[in-house]
């Protein structure tokens, strides 16, 4: 049996808080598995195990802050697990001889009654262990709950019911998103990305003057609710380029790249008050610009109101991040695992460009690519970015 210990995640780390266990006793683990999430000064970090075997016992519960080196769990090797924990033959110290043997009058004792819940100690509520721990985690007062378990004990389902009842009024006031949880999720995903994904970065300046001129002409004849934005053109361009370069569309999982059959573009959307979400627009390559624009407006409004759908979060195949016209000239995204690429779009700026042998003022957008080097190489990345730029020279065809 070996101990799985709180790792040191940096020379300055002295303690870590166990935020979440991803395994439980009895689970098999192998070298490199992520088994727990630990909160450090640097944020939530998923920690890996370097033993192979069976988790025998969890020694540190969630929420506990412990020094580096503390045993967090016991791990049995495969041989030990196979032999069974009790197989070790350890001779017991000699039992003391019986001082007296009370001989019962009958050889058959009265059978104990089946499942009797012992009366609780005076003034103490009857709460199941599962309910007690769950309520503590949520900060719910048990005194307010009516139990429906055996002997009217409060069980976990009772706490869940109270939590569900308590939930709705709260988010109505502000946004339906838990920004703290979102922060944690971003921290975990981005930390994992930077830990696991070997990013490479490319940049390409794209002349969007033709796009802007085309947009001005198109929008002039349209009421505001059907006007298009440059962002829609760029996202469509990315989707069409992705169709030609499938190495940037899909997932890197379990040691290999799995190209996706569809193009679901995640659109990074800043949440008011902090936070970020990148819900997907499905099958972007097959949407008309007008449909895409409608979807984008809908998505931005719903995301900011905290109403993202599970499927929009779960199945993104490539992400586009744009900081808009108030942003900076270029940005390099961090890939959202298990995706393999993120396209960054800077703001359009007027810059001098040589056009037909003359210097001209043109509107330029810097488009960048952060891609997973396990799935693709820089040469393909360069062709991909160049293709996006080329597609944006013919906005009417998007």
């Amino acid at each position: 049996m070996t101990a799985f210990r709180m790792p040191s995640l940096g020379a300055d780390m002295e303690t870590g808080t166990l935020v979440e266990w991803l395994v439980k006793p009895g689970d098999r683990v192998k070298h490199g598995d992520i088994v727990a999430v630990v909160e450090t000064q640097k944020g939530a970090i998923e920690i890996e195990i370097f033993q192979t075997g069976l988790i025998e016992q969890i020694l540190v519960g969630t929420g506990a802050k412990v020094p580096v080196g503390t045993s967090l769990a016991n791990v049995l090797s495969d041989e030990e697990a196979k032999a069974g924990t009790a197989a070790a033959v350890v001779p017991e110290a000699g039992a003391p001889p019986f001082a007296a043997i009370a001989v019962p009058r009958r050889s058959v004792g009265p059978p104990p009654p089946p499942i009797v819940v012992p009366p609780g100690a005076e003034g103490r509520m009857r709460v199941s262990p599962a309910a007690r721990r769950f309520a503590q985690r949520l900060g719910i007062d048990l005194a307010a709950i009516t139990g429906t378990g055996p002997a009217s004990a409060i069980i976990r389902a009772d706490v869940e019911r109270i939590q569900a009842e308590a939930m709705p009024p709260k988010p109505k006031a502000a946004i339906g998103l838990n920004l703290d949880a979102m922060r944690e999720a971003i921290a975990a995903a981005m930390a994992r990305s930077k830990r696991e994904i070997p990013h490479y970065y490319l940049q390409h300046d794209v002349d969007v003057t033709l796009c802007e001129e085309w947009l001005a002409r198109t929008n002039a004849a349209r009421p505001p609710d059907s006007r298009l934005l440059l962002g829609a053109l760029v996202i469509k361009g990315v989707a069409l380029a992705t169709r030609r370069f499938p190495a940037f569309n899909g997932f890197y999982r379990e040691g290999k790249f799995e190209p996706a059959a569809v193009i679901h573009v995640g659109v990074a959307i800043a949440i008011r008050g902090g936070g970020l979400a990148a819900p997907a627009i499905h099958n972007v390559d097959r949407l008309s610009l007008d449909d895409l624009m409608v979807r984008m407006r809908d998505l931005v409004q719903r995301t900011r109101a905290g109403r993202i759908r599970g499927s929009e979060i779960a199945d993104t195949t490539i992400t586009v991040s744009s900081l808009g016209e108030r942003g900076v000239e270029s940005l390099y995204g961090v890939i959202y695992p298990p995706q393999v690429a993120i396209v960054g779009v800077g703001k359009a700026t007027s810059r001098p460009r040589v056009v037909d042998g003359h210097v001209a003022v043109r509107s330029i957008v810097t488009v960048t690519l952060s891609a997973d080097h396990r799935a693709s190489d820089g040469h393909a990345g360069a062709l991909f970015l160049a293709n996006i730029g080329k597609l944006l020279q013919e906005p009417e065809k998007l």
Binding site: A174, A220, D225, R227, R272, G324, E325, R326
Partner: protein, 86 residues
């Protein structure tokens, strides 16, 4: 429509986009995009809402005239008050 009424409609629509902002405290000559932290999509939604509520057509070329609270109210008043509301 009075400037007070226009002001109230504009503030209401901006609040729909930026619900946590107290419109009373926004400097009337400040750039709304900065003051409210809104982007081009938000601004388009604002223009769309104004169009829907007041029936005012705002071409893209006029956007710069609406980037402050004062500017927006003056612009809308002119559009609405110019005799013919159509």
């Amino acid at each position: 429509m009075s400037s007070v009424e226009i002001h109230s409609v504009v503030c209401e629509e901006l609040n729909n986009i930026a619900p946590e902002v107290d419109m009373q405290s926004v400097n009337p000559s400040a750039d709304l995009r900065e003051a409210l932290d809104i982007d081009s999509m938000d601004f388009l939604n604002f223009i769309t809402a104004i169009h829907r509520r007041l029936g005012v057509d705002i071409p893209e070329l006029d956007y710069p005239k609406l980037i402050t609270l004062d500017g927006a109210i003056t612009y809308l008043q002119k559009k609405l008050g110019g005799g013919n509301k159509g």
